[in-house]
Symmetry: C2
Subunit: 343 residues, 2 copies
Amino acid sequence: MSYKIGLDISGGDFAPGAIINGALLARSELKQDIVLIGSRLEIEEQLALNDQSADEFTIIDAPEKIEMAESPVSAVRRKKNSSIVVGINLLKSKQIDAFVSCGNTGAVVGAATLRLGLIPGVERPGIGLLLPTKTGVSLLIDVGANIDCKPMHLFQYGIMASVYYNLVLNKKNPSLGLLNIGEEASKGLGVIKDLHKLFTASPLNFIGNVEAKEIFSGKCDCIVCDGFIGNIALKVAEGSVEAMGRFLIETIKKGILGKIGLLLLLPNLKKFKRKMDYAEYGGAPLLGVDGVVIIGHGRSSALAVKNAIGVAVGELSRDLTETINRRVNEICQDSRIRQILTV
Amino acid sequence: MSYKIGLDISGGDFAPGAIINGALLARSELKQDIVLIGSRLEIEEQLALNDQSADEFTIIDAPEKIEMAESPVSAVRRKKNSSIVVGINLLKSKQIDAFVSCGNTGAVVGAATLRLGLIPGVERPGIGLLLPTKTGVSLLIDVGANIDCKPMHLFQYGIMASVYYNLVLNKKNPSLGLLNIGEEASKGLGVIKDLHKLFTASPLNFIGNVEAKEIFSGKCDCIVCDGFIGNIALKVAEGSVEAMGRFLIETIKKGILGKIGLLLLLPNLKKFKRKMDYAEYGGAPLLGVDGVVIIGHGRSSALAVKNAIGVAVGELSRDLTETINRRVNEICQDSRIRQILTV
């Protein structure tokens, strides 16, 4: 089935070139109808560069740009003709089925929350990040939508992540862990101890606290944390992988054997670099808002943009929003959960 | 100059073997007088295995062990004859000059805080971690001593880290950053905004907020964060480097060229593995307690133990405790700082 996927052309470090290339890839490989949102002039220029006729795309002119460093709240309020605000409005009015942006994350979260609203019963949106593990993929939520989380917000992240993993990644009863500094239930901040009780009383497949190194081990499918901590975790992972890559090349090319070995390994090392670049894994779903919104990494390449569009399609072909709505309300209104919350 | 360095023989994943080997290395390479603290039976056994006479060491019998997973507070209270409690008591009574342990971190922090007390004026101890960067070394504080930090605790971490970097790592006016989810002063949690004001008003070389990926970039010398976040950051770095190492080997050995290349690179890859293993960089100084206490990584090898002892010696040969005392009191009693704190 083909959907109308709105794509923000102005957001991302390599915009608009990489974004347009991603749109072309997605159109040919995923057979989706991509709606290009951004400066019409730039879009037409980029399409011409790729020998593509502008007539074959729906183009929505949104000449304003929200820069990466801009304050999200005021940017969303002021720049009504920005690609992010226009895109979210198109989603609200159902002229597109999903919106994908590699732009200012705070602005996407802010515009989506304000204009689309939240799924009834959900208290805060959360950004879920899919990360490669030893055995498959783990879903870490939240990585930066909500930096001051109450237990209920984190509890609902666990529910939403479990629904997502079940429906979109096709795993029955996915396991859920709580990010903490130790595995014992007694460890960590007060909010985490409360949350431990909530998850234990819930019907979710809660396996308890997990340490941060388990994010990459595949020990559990979904991992819940505060957006501040999740964002730090994400950036540490990026930084350490970058540093490791640099040290790796410096160290292995030493000596004549090292230089020959490096030469022989170059094709495989390039593959490895792509494998480690989690930007390539596509976009991060913004869960909890009433519509399909995917946030791509700022460094997204054309392949990453195509993958982010793929994530949107994955959500659209399942009734994610309805299921989140039903599960959040079922679980949060359960008498045992309500009892813990009122203590 | 030779110091008496107390070494906890019972703590660490590879104790007592790796710890004793580390002591032997430290004695021969660093020319220090190592006091072995732990089960006398085990120590004598290990020394015999290494063809060493027990007569050449001071051995302090401390037969009880605090396990890695034990609750620190109750373990410190109950196990008076544990290597950690005995070692800290020896330091308190000045029978040793410094104490090094790769055991239960919480127990070391707890015993040191209770028995040694804090440097006058310091409100909380913090664990500083030395990490390799592009240009040298960065000092991240706190990585797990204090998981519920008030602005004053974090402010003092910045002062203590700056003093440490200046004295022990010999850098005048080291730069200091505040770990946050963005560089703008307006970003992040309330406690971080308060802290930004305090550092800006202080005489420290404060460069503002830094993102987590800068931990490895060498952008600044000292980085301050809450112990919960610092511990998560540490474990994420460990986990991502581990995962990356695994992916690396899987990917590069593909194909016949890959297999030959890998063979040629093996010696360099082994060097690389050691370089990335931050456990090898030695121990983490516990700053703020009234005495030199170094916490080694649980996975410490003999080399790491020797390096941790080296970190202790580095501290002892400078008047770190006195300088921390003087700087903390000078800066915290400054009228501009006091004014910000009372708002």
